[in-house]
């Protein structure tokens, strides 16, 4: 079972372990600082990059990603918007069409629902619907997460956006991916949903010295193994790594895949792993019904049916609106134990 603070501390310990294995040309930063570096580098390089969002200026951003940016770049480039997500994203779509590179911050992914018309009906359609004559390459940064925030502030909707052709959807779990993907998103020509996670901003990890970008494509094998493949993304991938370590001590070898990019979805990497391990467990923080895990399971069985020796295991949240009470919340969000149980069920 998950406990917000305890897990956060554990994640940080794990990340610190990784950092002690530092090698040349790499340095350790937090997930938050990786994002700040990416934004800073892109703003310094391209005067058309601007930030729009609620409380991103003097307040510094709800998750403190943009602190100090308004002082540095001015109000022209760091714009505090009204609390009006539909309008904010629409303005960014128009600005992007007309040649700017807006990075929008939507405080949490729950609020992105207010902007879904602009994201789905407009940003995702502009390039195709107008025959490729122009595009709307805005970047929407938003955060998934939970922590006694109640029913309307504890959801994760990456699957909704990954459903839509025309959007690129990324959900990085490491500082390295966060920085590289964000820079690629800003430099790219397509609309990107860049989904962060409120519980991993303080996680530390190694990133390359100097500038780098990571193409917005492809899953990554985080840990090689032979008995089972565990697939997840964002905080779920960190959870999967923790579960894999514990399983290792029990003699079960897990291969962990971080999907990282949720559209386009890299099923190849998962299928190749399943060809080796013959077992698959998918871990997501969201509800399982109609979710991304369902799509991954369906896509994998289409190409790797003969490789599977057991039904695909799926771990997700209990399907209720999130209650406030701490004990109930702990039961609802999947933790390491649930992942371990699901893995054992496939063996």
């Amino acid at each position: 079972m998950a406990s917000t603070l305890a897990e956060l501390e554990e994640m940080q310990r794990e990340a610190a372990k990784g950092a002690s294995r530092a090698s040349g040309g790499m340095r350790e930063v937090t997930y938050r600082d990786a994002l700040r570096e990416a934004i800073t580098e892109e703003m310094d390089k391209n005067p058309n990059v601007l930030l729009l969002g609620e409380d991103i200026g003097a307040y510094g951003g709800s998750y403190v990603v943009t602190r100090g940016f308004q002082e540095k770049y001015g109000r022209k480039r760091v714009i505090d918007t009204p609390i009006a997500e539909l309008g904010i994203v629409g303005v960014a779509v128009g600005a992007a069409m007309a040649g700017l590179k807006p990075i929008v911050e939507l405080m949490t992914i729950n609020f992105s629902l207010l902007a879904i018309d602009q994201i789905v009906n407009h940003a995702a359609k502009i390039h195709y619907m107008f025959g490729g004559q122009f595009t709307a390459p805005l970047v929407i940064r938003t955060a998934s997460g939970w922590g006694q925030l109640g029913a309307t502030h504890s959801q994760t909707f990456e699957g909704w956006y990954a459903h839509v052709p025309g959007l690129r959807v990324v959900m990085p779990s490491t500082p390295r991916d966060a920085k590289g993907f964000l820079k690629a998103a800003v430099q790219g020509n397509d609309p990107v949903m860049f989904i962060e996670h409120s519980l991993i901003y303080r996680n530390r990890g190694l990133i390359p010295d100097g500038e780098y970008i990571l193409p917005l494509e492809g899953a990554e094998v985080r840990k090689e193994g032979s008995d089972v493949t565990i697939v997840s993304w964002s905080r779920g991938a960190i959870l999967a790594m923790g579960a894999a370590d514990e399983l290792e001590r029990e003699g079960i070898s897990s291969e962990v895949i971080d999907m990282r990019v949720l559209r386009p979805l890299d099923i190849d990497t998962v299928a190749k792993s399943v060809a080796k391990t013959n077992r698959l467990v998918i871990v997501e923080e969201s509800w399982r019904t109609m979710g991304l895990g369902a799509e991954i399971a369906a896509a994998v069985q289409e190409v790797a049916f003969d490789d599977l020796d057991a039904p695909i295991g799926r771990v997700g949240s209990i399907e209720v609106p999130m209650p406030y009470a701490r004990n109930l919340e702990r039961i609802i969000i999947p933790g390491k134990d649930e992942v371990i149980q699901a893995v054992k069920a496939t063996l």
């Binding site: 009006a84 303005v91 128009g94 490729g132 386009p264």
Partner: protein, 377 residues
Amino acid sequence: MSRAKATTTNGAAANGASRRRGRSASKTDNGPGVDALHALEKSELLSLYRQMYLIRRFEERSAEQYAYGKIGGFLHLYIGEEAVAVGAIKALSPADHLVTHYRDHGYALAIGADPGPVMAELFGKETGTTKGRGGSMHLTHVERHFWGGYAIVAGHLPIATGIGLALQYQEQDAVCMCIFGDGATNAGAFHEALNMAAIWKLPVIFLCENNLYAMGTAHQYISAVPSMATKALAYDMKAETVDGQDVLAMYEAARRAVEWCKAGNGPYFLEAMTYRFRGHSMADPETYRDKDEVEQYRSRDPITAYQEQLIEAGVADKAVFEQIDREVEEQLEAAIFFADASPFPDPSTIYDYVYAEPIWETIARNGASEDSEGPRG
């Protein structure tokens, strides 16, 4: 009705208060449109007529092609409202930008799109303004920064505001004109966009075509106020109501709006009182308004009224108009021939344009294969 008031302000122009072309008197002496009648060259005045007539006949030919099954889906005709688009677009320069609602044929033609590609788009052909991908509701003309018609009511108002933001950010001497109907003023996106345009003083002209009906519902049932311009006052935005059936009055008002925005005063709200002579779309049974009302508005047709105005002012005689009409008919015949002769999009291009940048081909097809080594296409 609120419309009656706007109509009377225009009465002077329609009656030709100052028929001689010459030095214009002060504005207070002339009704709306009279200054323009004096200031514009004969060729410009006739060009406005030609555009309105082109739109009218384009729409009538479209309706006919729809009946033949050449055009599918929705078809929202602009018949009756031609003076709004033609007058408004006349006020724009090539540096200015345009975003419209889905009733966009008139705007595409007014801003200079060739009727051939516009008709081809209605036919869903590869030679259409968006290569058959957008259809009737999503026409474009990128050379003149016409960023398209949009089909979610009020959805394009924030987009126009964003274009205005970009123009201000890049310190361009240009405005973004945004067209929408009275129905859009009741949506949240309208209010969010107006607020943002106002607080950031963006060069955006919000041009509301008030044709009294939001699809099939009269606005007294769905809008708290009868005047859409009133809604702009909540955002401390300069606003005016103009007779949208008078092309010169429309042009003058749009020019005032352009000048206001280019002087750095922020956005401008223009409410054009107009009327749709045909149904909302071809599927509209028109059960919500009575025939007498439609006939009453049809009797003040913006095109014949303007023609009479020009004849009375001595700008041109009947023969000139007959010549223009013949040329327009030929142009439309050619447009339909072009659309007919054009190919449909090649099915092998179905994935083109989903993304601006290439992605792994195998992933794009939602499948997996052996050779997904890297980006292609």
